[in-house]
Symmetry: C2
Subunit: 217 residues, 2 copies
C-alpha cells in the first residue's frame, strides 16, 4: 500500500527534535525533576490521573504540569484551580508535543525540584510516540472502554512505554474487555514494562502507581 510522502520531512524534524530532547534531559537532571510523558487516546482520563498523582506526590517534593492540547485550555484551568503549577501548550492542530515545545514551556513554568514534572501529551495514540521529549518515563494510559485490542492496533506507542496504565477499571462490567488479551498485546511488543490497573473514579490502584513513580527517585 502507498507509504506516506511525509517521511523525508519527518526525518529531519526528528533529528532536530532528538537534539532538543537531549538538552531537555540535561536540564531536567540539573533541576532534579523526574519527568513523566503521559500519552493516551482522547478521553482515556489523562487529566484525572494527573490530578490524583499530583495530590499523592506533592508531599514528596515539588510538582508541576505541562499541558498539551490542540485547542482549548480546559485541562490546564482545572489543574491551576487546584493550586498546582501548570503551563499550557496549544499546538494549533499539531498532533503531538515536541521537545522545543517542552523547552519553551519549562521556562514559563519555572519549576525547581526535587520533584516531578508531568507532561500531558496530545490525545493521540500515534504521533506522540515518535517524538522524544527528553522525559524520564513514558507512561501510556489506556482505558477499559477503548477495548483490549489497542496494543495490537497501536503497537508503536506501547512498544516504547516504560509503564502501561489501564484506567476505568470500575467499568469492566459494562464492556467486553479481556484483561489477559490486553496484557498479551502489550507483551507482544514490550516484554518488561509494568502494567498497572487503576480507576480514577474509585481510587483503585493509584497508590501503587504513585509508589512506582516515587521508587524512581
Amino acid at each position: 500500500m502507498a507509504k506516506k510522502k511525509i517521511i523525508t520531512a519527518r526525518r529531519s524534524i526528528l533529528c532536530a527534535n532528538d537534539r532538543q530532547a537531549a538538552a531537555n534531559t540535561r536540564l531536567f537532571k540539573k533541576l532534579d525533576l523526574t519527568t513523566i510523558n503521559v500519552m493516551a487516546s482522547p478521553g482515556a482520563g489523562k487529566t484525572n490521573l494527573l490530578v490524583h498523582l499530583l495530590k499523592a506526590l506533592s508531599s514528596h517534593g515539588s510538582v508541576g504540569v505541562i499541558e498539551g492540547d490542540v485547542a482549548s485550555s480546559i485541562d490546564a484551568e482545572h489543574i491551576a484551580a487546584l493550586g498546582y503549577p501548570v503551563t499550557q501548550i496549544n499546538t494549533d492542530g499539531g498532533c503531538h508535543l515536541n521537545a522545543s515545545d517542552i523547552a519553551a514551556a519549562l521556562k514559563e513554568l519555572n519549576l525547581a525540584g526535587p520533584g516531578f514534572l508531568f507532561i500531558e501529551n496530545i490525545g493521540n495514540l500515534i504521533c506522540p510516540a515518535a517524538f522524544d521529549l527528553g522525559e524520564r518515563v513514558r507512561l501510556v494510559l489506556a482505558s477499559v472502554p477503548e477495548g483490549d485490542d489497542k496494543p495490537r492496533k497501536y503497537p508503536g506507542i506501547f512498544m516504547k512505554a516504560d509503564v502501561v496504565v489501564v484506567n476505568k477499571l470500575d467499568t469492566l462490567a459494562a464492556f467486553d474487555f479481556d484483561r489477559a488479551a490486553f496484557i498479551a498485546g502489550v507483551r507482544a511488543v514490550n516484554p518488561a514494562a509494568p502494567i498497572l490497573e487503576v480507576s480514577c473514579r474509585t481510587g483503585q490502584g493509584l497508590d501503587a502507581l504513585a509508589d512506582w513513580l516515587l521508587a524512581l527517585r
Copy 2:
C-alpha cells in the same frame, strides 16, 4: 507558544492531496458510490458501527469498506469474515489516510455502485481532519466514555463533520457524560450537522443513521 515546524512541508502535501481528492470525487460519482469517511478516537466503535451499517444498507445496493490502520488487519479480517468486500491500508505509523491511499485501495477493492463505500480512517481525532479523501460524507464518531468535552478539545474534526454520531449510549449510567454539553460543544463549531445517538451494543439509533445515509442517494 512554539508553532510546529512541520507546517511548510504539510502545505505542499495538502495541495497534492486536494488534487487527488478531487479525482477521487469524480471517480466515486462515476462508480455511483456514496462514500463515507468515518473518523474517531481509538476504541470509539468505528468497526462495530460499520458492521451494523453494512448489514442495514446491503439490501439497498453494493457495499464495501476501505479499512485504515497504523498496523494490524484485525478489523479488515472481521469485516471480510462477514462476507463484505474490504481492502486494508496500513499506514506504517502514519496518523491519517490520504487521498492517494484511497485511490490505490479503490483499484484493489473493485467495487461498483450504486451503493455505499465506507472508509474507516485511522483512530485519531486530529490528523484525519486535515486530509480530504474526496468523500461525500464526513462522519465523526464520538462515544460516551470519552467524555462530553471532546468537541471543545478537538474542534477541527467536529467543525468539518457532515454528521456526528455518539456511540455507547448504553453506558451513560457508568459515566459523567452531559449530553447537552456535548451538543453545545459541537454547535459552537458546527451549526448544522445532525447529531445522532446510537448504541452498537443494543442497536439503539442505528436505523435512524442508516435512513439518514439512504436519504443522501
